[in-house]
Amino acid sequence: MTTRRLFLKGSGLAMFGVGAAPMWLARAADAPSARKKVLVAVFQRGAVDGLNVVVPFGERNYYALRPTIAIPAPKGGTESAIDLDGFFGLHPALAPLKPIYDANKLAIVHAVGSPDPTRSHFDAQDYMESGTPGRKATTDGWLNRALPPSAEVRKSPVRAVSLGPSLSRAVRGHNEAVAINNLNEFKVSDVDGAATFESMYASTLDKALSGTGRETFDAVKLMQSIQAQPYTPAAGAKYPGGRLGQSLMQVARLIKADVGLEVAFADVGGWDTHVNEVGQTPGAGQLANLLGNFGQALAAFYQDLGDRMEDVAVVTMSEFGRTARENGNRGTDHGHANVMFAFGGGIRGGKVYGEWPGLAPEQLYENRDLALTTDFRDVLGELVGKHLGNGQLAGVFPEYARPRFRGLIEG
C-alpha cells in the first residue's frame, strides 16, 4: 500500500506539475481508506460493430470492405473518425470519451473477444457472462466469481449488483448478488408488510426463494439510508436518458454511499445492426445514436465519480463483433472479434492495445470477420487480478488459468 501511495504522489507531481495535483490523488495518497475497489462491467447486447466503434482508418481494406457504411478517416467535425493514434479513430458519436482517453485513463483493446466460434447471440452472451466459452454447464458468472475472498464476518449484501429488473448471468453465483432496478423503489412499500415478508422468506423451506429473499431484505435495509437522500450527480455530470445512463447513475450512487459495492453489471441492448447501421451521413443513423447515448453515459459516470474514480474500473464488452464486410442492407451480420474499453483510476489509458490482425482477405477469420488476437479473459483477468486484487484467477476463469495480461494496469 505504501508503495502505491508513494507512486501516486510521485506520478501526481509528474503528470500535473507542482500544485496541480487533482483531488483524487491527494485523497488516495493520504486517506487510509477502507473503501473497496469496484469493477463495473457494461455489456452491449446484440453484438456491437467494433470496426465502426474504433475505426481502423489506417487500413485500406476497411474502406474496400465497407463501401457505404465506413466511417471516414479523421478530418475534424462530426462526420469522420476522431483520431486516436494515427491508425485508429473513435466513432464521432463517442466524442465524450475522447477527453478520458487524452487523460490516459481510457484504454482500448481491439481484435478482442471470445475464442468460441459461435455466432449465436444467446450462446455467445452466455459464454461471455459465464466466462467459460464453449462450456454450457457452467452455472455461475465470472463477475460473481471475481469477488475477492472476504474474511469479513458480515459481508455487504450489495457486494455484487446487477442493474435492471433481472439478475444478469454474469453476477449469478454462490456469492450474494442482488438485482436493483431502481434504487428508490428497492423496498416493500408497506412497512408492516415488509416485516412480515422478511420473516416469511427467511424461514421458508423453498430454498431458491429463501436465499434470494434473505439477500433482498439485507440489501433493502442498507438502501434505506441512500433512499432518504435525494441524489444529484456531482460536477454537473449529465446522465443521458435510457437504460445505461440510469443504471450507471445508480452504480455511482451506490459507490459514493460506501455500502460495500465491489462488482456491478449493467447492460444495454439494440446493437444488432443488420440493416441501415449508418444513416444518411457517416455520423448519423442507428449506430451513431446508440453510441452517442453510450458515450454520454460512460462520460457522465466518469465525471460524476470524480476523485472516486480512483477506486473504480469500468470495462465494456459485447458477445462478438460483426462481419468485416457490410451486408446487403447497409448493415453487418454476426462476426467474430470486437473491441473493448476499460477506464478508471488504475488503467493505463491513452492507448489502443492488442495486435492488429489486418483486414486483407487472407487475414479475416473464416474469410469474413475480424480475427481474434486477444482473449476477452486476458482483459477481464487483468482487471480482476490487479484491480480487484483477486489473485485466484483459476477459479474465476477455469480452464484459462494463465491469462496473458496486456499491461492495462500498472504492476
Binding site: 423496498k187 416493500v188 408497506d190 416485516a195 416469511m200 423453498d206 439494440g270 440493416v275 442492407n329
Partner: protein, 592 residues
C-alpha cells in the same frame, strides 16, 4: 382394529416413494398440478369442477378448445379493443404514428374516415401545423378552454380527486360536451383519467394523446383479458408459449403495426395444430420478415442489386436464416453450420413484404431471389426452384430429428420442469415424428405422462411475472375494468409484454425470474392488489377473513407452508397489511 392397520399403511406409502422421485402425485395434488400448469392459475370453484370431471377428461377438453364454450364476459372486454381485429393496413390508418400524421398534415395522406380517429388526427394535424408556425413551439390553445366547460371545482377534482370523485365529475358532463372536454384536457390529465372512465372515452383520450400507442395498449389488454377470463386456458398458455418461441419485438419500427396480425393469424390458429403450418405462418408473416430483416435480403446478381444514390446496393442478410435454425427449429446444437446459415439465407431471398411501411402483406419477389443451387443440411436444392426453395427448407427443418427434440424439450421446460427428464423428451419427440409434428399429440403425450404428474414436477416452476399477476387476479376474483396498469406491473416484475428485444424470447427457467428487484416487485404488487391500489382492478376484500390458514386455502387452493402461516400470524396485532396480500406475495404463491 382394521382401522389401526390402515392408518400406518397410508402413512408409510408416500414415504416409501420419496426416494423414487418420479412417484406419482395424489389425486388431489394432480388436480392442483394440472390447473397450475394448464391454466393461468385456478379460480374459485375450478378445483372442485376438475375433480368432479376427472383430471384426464379435463386435460383432454383443454386440448380441444373448440369444444369449450367461451366466457361471454371475455367477448365483452375484447369488444372495445378494435386494433386487435383490424388488418395491418387499417391499423396504420386508424392509429397513425407521428410520421403519418405529418404526412396527412402535408396532404400526402388522406384523412381517416372514422369520425373519432378523424377528430383525433385533425387535432394533432392542427397542432402540428400551428407548431410549425410558432417559433417557440408553445402549446396550442385548445379550441375551447377547459375552464369554459367545467367549473373550477370540477377541474380540481379531475386533477386531485379520488377515482370515484373523478367518475362523478365525468358523469355530470353533458354528452354533447364530452368531446370538447376531452380535447381541452391536457395530455397528462387525460392519462391520469384513464382508470376513471369507460372504455369508449378511454380510447378517445388515448387517441387524442398518442394514437399509435393504442395498438400496444390493445395488445397488452387483450392478452391480459384472455388469460384472466378465457375458458380455453391451455390455448392461451400456448399462444403465450409460441409467441415467445417465435418472438417478435413490438417496438422495432413497422412491427408496432404488424404484431397484432402476427399473433392473431400466424400464431393463434396453429398453437395446437401442425408445427410445419405454424413454422410457415411465422416465416411468411410480415412481422417476422421485418423483425429478422429477411424482407430486405436479396440474392447476388439479381436485378434489384444494383444500387443508386437513393437505394444503395442490397444483398444477402442472414439474420432470419440463423434464428430459424437456432431458435425456431433445430436448436443451437442441432448440427447446422455457418455454411448452412448462408445457404438457407439464399433460399429465403425474395420472401418479402409488399410496401412494408404501409402494412403490406407477404409476397414472393422472384426478381431478387437467388436462383442458384443450394445445399442445406446435406440436402441438395436444385437451381431454379424459386419460392419453393424456402418451402423445401421448412420441410427439411420441420421433419428433422433435432427439431422434434428441441421443440419437445422447450415444451417440457415450460410445462414440466426446468430440466425435464430425457425419457420424457424422447417420448414427446417420438410422437412429434410419428404424428407429423402434430402439436396437440405432442402435448397429449406430455400431459398424460408419469413425468408430468411426478413429485419432481410438482410446484417446481416459479411463475413468470405474467403468470404471477394473472393468477393473483384469478384466485381472488378481482374485477378488472382496465387491464393496462396490470401490464405495467408485469413489466416491473421483469417481463414487459411483447417487448423482449432479443429473438430468443424470455427464458422459461426459474432463474430468469428469481432476483431481488423482481421479488420486491412481486410483494409490492401483491399488497397493492389487496389494498385496491392497482388502478382499474377491484378486489372484494370482504370475502377474506383474517385467518391465514383459511385465506391460504382460498388463494393457494391448498395449505400454505407452516413458515408462511407463522409469519403472518406473528404479524403485530395492529399491523395493517392485509392477509390476502401477504399470501399473494408469499413464497408459496410464487410457485405453480
Amino acid at each position: 382394529m382394521r382401522k389401526l392397520l390402515v392408518v400406518p399403511a397410508l402413512f408409510l406409502c408416500p414415504l416409501l416413494f420419496i426416494g423414487a422421485r418420479s412417484s406419482k402425485l395424489s389425486k388431489d395434488d394432480q388436480v392442483i398440478h394440472a390447473l397450475n400448469r394448464l391454466t393461468f392459475g385456478p379460480r374459485p370453484g375450478d378445483v372442485e369442477a376438475v375433480r368432479k370431471m376427472g383430471v384426464k377428461k379435463w386435460i383432454d377438453l383443454q386440448l380441444h378448445p373448440e369444444r369449450l364454450a367461451e366466457n361471454p364476459e371475455l367477448a365483452q372486454k375484447l369488444a372495445p379493443l378494435e386494433s386487435l381485429r383490424l388488418s395491418q393496413a387499417d391499423t396504420q390508418r386508424t392509429y397513425p404514428n407521428p410520421q403519418m400524421i405529418r404526412a396527412i398534415a402535408a396532404g400526402r395522406q388522406p384523412m381517416p374516415s372514422d369520425p373519432v380517429t378523424r377528430a383525433a388526427v385533425e387535432r394533432v394535424v392542427r397542432r402540428f401545423k400551428v407548431k410549425k408556425d410558432i417559433a417557440d413551439n408553445g402549446p396550442l390553445e385548445p379550441a375551447v378552454a377547459l375552464d369554459q366547460l367545467l367549473t373550477r371545482e370540477q377541474i380540481r377534482t379531475l386533477r386531485a380527486g379520488t377515482v370515484e370523485q373523478k367518475r362523478a365529475v365525468i358523469a355530470a358532463i353533458p354528452e354533447d360536451q364530452m368531446d370538447a372536454v376531452a380535447i381541452a384536457l391536457s395530455p397528462g390529465l387525460r392519462l391520469q383519467l384513464l382508470p376513471a372512465v369507460d372504455p369508449t372515452l378511454r380510447r378517445k383520450l388515448m387517441l387524442l394523446t398518442a394514437p399509435q400507442q393504442l395498438v400496444a395498449f390493445d395488445l397488452s389488454e387483450g392478452k391480459l383479458y384472455r388469460a384472466i377470463l378465457s375458458n380455453r386456458q391451455l390455448e392461451e398458455q400456448l399462444v403465450d408459449f409460441w409467441y415467445n418461441h417465435f418472438n417478435v419485438f413490438l417496438d422495432k419500427g413497422a412491427d408496432r403495426y404488424l404484431v397484432p396480425t402476427y399473433e392473431r393469424e400466424a400464431i393463434r390458429p396453429h398453437v395446437l395444430g401442425k408445427f410445419r403450418d405454424l413454422l410457415e405462418a411465422t416465416a411468411k408473416s410480415p412481422a417476422m420478415l421485418f423483425f429478422l430483416d429477411n424482407w430486405e435480403s436479396v440474392g447476388p446478381d439479381t436485378s434489384q442489386r444494383r444500387g443508386n444514390a437513393k437505394r444503395p446496393t442490397r444483398g444477402l442478410n442472414e439474420n432470419y436464416a440463423r434464428e430459424l435454425m437456432e431458435l425456431h427449429t433445430l436448436g443451437v446444437d442441432g448440427g447446422y453450420t455457418q455454411k448452412d446459415v448462408t445457404q438457407v439465407a439464399r433460399c429465403f431471398t425474395g420472401w418479402t413484404i409488399r410496401a412494408p411501411r404501409q402494412g403490406g402483406d407477404f409476397f414472393y419477389n422472384d426478381r431478387v431471389h437467388d436462383k442458384g443451387e443450394k445445399t442445406v443440411l446435406g440436402v441438395k436444392i436444385p437451381a431454379g426452384g424459386g419460392q419453393d426453395d424456402a418451402e423445401k427448407v421448412l420441410d427439411i427443418l420441420a421433419r428433422h430429428l433435432a427439431t422434434a427434440r428441441f421443440i419437445s424439450k422447450r415444451l417440457a421446460q415450460r410445462f414440466v420442469t426446468d430440466d425435464p427428464p430425457q425419457k420424457l423428451i424422447d417420448k414427446m419427440a417420438k410422437t412429434f415424428r410419428e404424428k407429423n409434428g402434430d402439436i396437440r399429440e405432442v402435448m397429449k403425450t406430455m400431459l398424460t405422462s408419469d413425468e408430468f404428474f411426478s413429485q419432481t414436477a410438482y410446484r417446481a416452476k416459479v411463475k413468470t411475472p405474467f403468470e404471477m399477476i394473472v393468477s393473483a387476479v384469478r384466485a381472488t376474483g378481482a374485477q378488472v375494468d382496465f387491464a393496462f396498469p396490470l401490464a405495467r406491473q408485469i413489466a416491473e416484475l421483469g417481463e414487459p409484454l411483447y417487448r423482449k428485444l432479443e429473438p430468443t424470447g424470455y427464458s422459461d427457467a426459474n432463474s430468469e425470474w428469481v432476483n431481488s428487484a423482481a421479488l420486491l416487485a412481486r410483494m409490492n404488487f401483491a399488497l397493492a392488489l389487496a389494498q385496491n391500489k392497482v388502478p382499474g382492478s377491484k378486489l372484494d376484500v370482504s370475502q377474506f377473513t383474517g385467518d391465514p390458514a383459511e385465506v391460504a386455502r382460498q388463494v393457494l387452493f391448498t395449505d400454505a407452508q407452516p413458515a408462511t402461516l407463522a409469519a403472518i400470524e406473528k404479524q403485530a396485532q395492529n399491523a395493517k397489511a392485509p392477509v390476502v396480500g401477504l399470501m399473494l406475495g408469499s413464497p408459496d404463491f410464487q410457485r405453480r
